[in-house]
């Protein structure tokens, strides 16, 4: 797994490089935006970690240039700018994730692993949560080794929750996911499907945070 790090702060870049190398990545580092663009094209890294405040070329310009050249490599933006417009601009320009400085190394590694998974989720992507295995390709689910039969809508809901394990999704967000599969949704549909999923898998598999939404896994 090869990572291209575009970061102009020498000390930070060195620290990140050490951490990434130790985690088993091959790291190319450049402090220059324009060099970063040519490296991303020539070296074909699997992931790009991009700082926004570069001296020669703005990070967003680097990102646009990459996306303009049809380079689809997942990009994680690393930045000191935390205001909302900057985040929106970054994601709009084609970034896959956004991490603000300062950050814990563990968090950076976790996010990179998530990007890796997303980039690699071609044929046989499996999400494992406890003793539940969700196969996104074959739409099959098993609980403790036993297959669980789900309707298409139930699977859509489960998939939405499984895509971001540990995160809460609101009822509206889940409804949106169902809409995007081209179904029309009645107001209590989500509750009904959640109820069915709990019955078919296990009662503490989906946790409700009252007034906020649902997440996979037990409450704590």
């Amino acid at each position: 797994m090869r990572i291209l790090l575009i970061e102009d702060d020498h000390s930070l870049a060195e620290g990140i490089t050490t951490a990434l190398r130790h985690a088993g990545y091959a790291v190319d580092h450049t402090p220059s935006g324009s060099k970063g663009v040519s490296l991303a094209v020539a070296a074909q890294p699997d992931l790009v970690v991009l700082d926004l405040g570069l001296p020669d070329m703005d990070g967003l310009a680097v990102l646009r240039s990459l996306r303009g050249q049809q380079i689809k490599t997942p990009v994680l933006i690393l930045t000191a700018r935390d205001d909302l417009p900057s985040k929106v601009q970054g994601l709009d320009a084609g970034a896959d994730d956004y991490l603000t400085k300062p950050f814990a190394v563990d968090e950076l590694l976790a996010r990179l692993r998530a990007l890796e998974r997303r980039g690699a989720s071609g044929g046989s992507a499996e999400v494992v949560i406890g003793d539940v295995v969700i196969n996104l390709a074959t739409h099959s689910v098993s609980h403790g080794g036993n297959p669980v039969r789900l309707s298409r809508r139930e699977f859509s809901l489960l998939r939405a929750l499984a895509e971001r394990p540990g995160h809460i999704l609101s009822r509206e967000q889940l409804e949106d996911k169902l809409y995007s599969w081209g179904e029309s949704v009645a107001s209590n549909t989500v509750d009904v499907h959640i109820h069915n999923l709990r019955k078919k898998i296990s009662s503490d598999f989906i946790h409700t945070i009252r007034g906020v939404g649902y997440k996979l896994g037990p409450s704590r």
Binding site: D9, S11, L12, G15, I16, T18, A19, H22, G53, A80, R81, D82, D83, L84, T100, K101, P102, F103, A104, V105, D106, G166, H167, I168, L169, S170, E175, V185, S187, I209, R210, G211, V212, G213, K215, S219, R220
Partner: protein, 462 residues
């Protein structure tokens, strides 16, 4: 001066009236002099006519006359030869030729005496009040048009001034409807010459304000960047060091943990100081929009949920959709600070309840926890910068920098909201808990019911 329009109306009408009256007075005097000459000439002509009449009889002849003129004809030896019936039998006027004024028959008269060629004396008199009556008529006729014309002039002046002041009114309207955070230049199309300096200097002022806001924003963005990058580097190196020590046979020294804690504290302090700086109303040009506070609370809780899960705390969101006019970035920061405080000060396995509700003319965001709470006597001071309940070494050993509630306070100020601290309904005798309530004003559009219609529509769709 209350109104330029009324002032101008009164001033102009007074001027017009004054000028007209002076003109009328002058005309009156001139015509009076002219009339006097005419009347005198008329009396003289009558006297000339009487002098030419031959009179023979000795008994005085009495001639019937109108009331306005009288005359006498005296012989050279002082005999009254002829008189009008309204003239007395005694001589009127002087013997010398010329004009004089006299009283007789109950009136004042203008008298003309004239000796004739045969030694007689002719005296013709005319009542003076005739002249006054004419003068009255002249005055009335010159004043009447002014009296009638004045209201018409007033109305016209009122309208013309109104028209002339229209651009001033437009400017005032534009300024009045400008939102506090809107620093765009005034857009008055083709302002009149007199308003141009006002518009120009106002726009220059707005430009300077905008520039200073921009400078502040750039400074805080630059400061954020310059501070966060080295902290990020220190943290990464410390993390690397910790991992290397973990993998080596050497036992991890306690000082490394201290180092990592200190870095976390410093990072937190820098963040909070930046936030405090950015949220001070004079530094922060808020961009207000209609925001569903309930939805925003839900998103922030979802984002922070892992922290509550780590401390095995139970959190719930109550209430329902409530729109306020707010700045999203600032409100997210407010929610994050309140929720982080609740998370930090509520013990492991405790409870936190967030509630967003409309209460009368306010939208109230309330965050309650089952933590130790804040004693009554310290509730005022917690909004002070760097103040921490129980001093720096907090008994809960919770790291913090004492800026969270100051930031909350600034953001509330930015939104004209009030922050109220009280005991929590989740508390008990040992831990009374804390309830922080932020009362936001209900936006005008919601008061008129517009948002409710929108909400109703959304419900229909879903």
């Amino acid at each position: 001066m209350k109104s330029i329009r009324i002032f101008l109306l009164i001033a102009l009408l007074s001027t017009i009236t004054l000028v007209n009256f002076i003109a009328a007075l002058h005309g009156y005097r001139a015509s009076m002099q002219e009339a006097e000459r005419l009347f005198d000439r008329q009396i003289a002509a009558t006297a000339l006519l009487l002098a030419a009449i031959p009179i023979d009889q000795t008994a005085p002849q009495v001639i019937e006359e109108n009331d306005l003129q009288a005359f006498q004809v005296w012989s050279a030896d002082g005999q009254l030869l002829m008189r009008s019936d309204n003239a007395p039998a005694t001589p009127i006027g002087d013997a010398q030729e010329g004009f004089s004024e006299q009283n007789f028959s109950g009136f004042r008269w203008r008298v003309y005496s004239r000796p004739s060629a045969n030694g007689r004396s002719i005296r013709v008199a005319e009542r003076v009040d005739l002249r006054f009556r004419l003068a009255d008529e002249v005055v009335l006729q010159s004043v009447m048009p002014i009296l009638i014309g004045l209201p018409v002039a007033g109305l016209l002046i009122w309208l013309v001034i109104g028209h002339g002041l229209a651009s001033l009114k437009k400017l005032a309207d534009e300024l009045r409807h400008k939102r506090a955070e809107d620093l765009a230049p005034l857009t008055l199309a083709a302002p009149p010459e007199e308003l141009l300096p006002l518009v120009r200097s106002t726009n220059a002022l707005l430009e300077r304000l905008q520039a200073s806001f921009d400078r502040e924003r750039r400074f805080s963005a630059d400061a954020a960047h310059e501070l966060r990058t080295p902290i990020a580097a220190i943290q990464v190196h410390a993390d690397n060091l910790a991992r290397q020590l973990q993998n080596s046979a050497v036992a991890t020294p306690g000082s490394l943990q201290q180092l990592q804690d200190s870095i976390a504290r410093m990072a937190h302090l820098v963040e909070q100081m930046l936030n405090l700086f950015r949220m001070t109303p004079e530094h922060y040009p808020a961009r207000f929009e209609s925001i569903d506070l309930h939805r925003l609370a839900r998103d922030v809780i979802a984002e922070l949920y892992p922290a509550f899960a780590r401390r095995e705390q139970e959190i719930e969101l109550l209430g329902n959709t409530a729109y306020i006019d707010g700045d999203q970035f600032a409100l997210v920061l407010l929610l994050q600070n309140l929720l982080n405080n609740a998370c930090k000060y509520t013990p492991q396995g405790g409870r936190i309840a967030v509630d967003v509700q409309r209460q009368g003319d306010a939208v109230v965001l309330q965050v309650q926890d089952s933590g130790p709470g804040i004693p009554q006597e310290e509730r005022e001071r917690v909004f002070e910068r760097f103040y921490r309940v129980g001093g720096d070494r907090h008994e809960s050993r919770v790291p913090g920098c004492g800026l969270g509630l100051s930031i909350v306070h600034h953001i509330a100020e930015l939104h004209h909201a009030q922050v109220v601290l009280g005991p929590s309904s989740l508390g008990d005798a040992q831990a009374p808990g804390l309830a922080v309530a932020v009362h936001f004003p209900v936006p005008k559009s919601v008061e008129r019911g517009i948002k409710y219609e929108k909400v109703a529509d959304e419900n229909l769709v879903s």
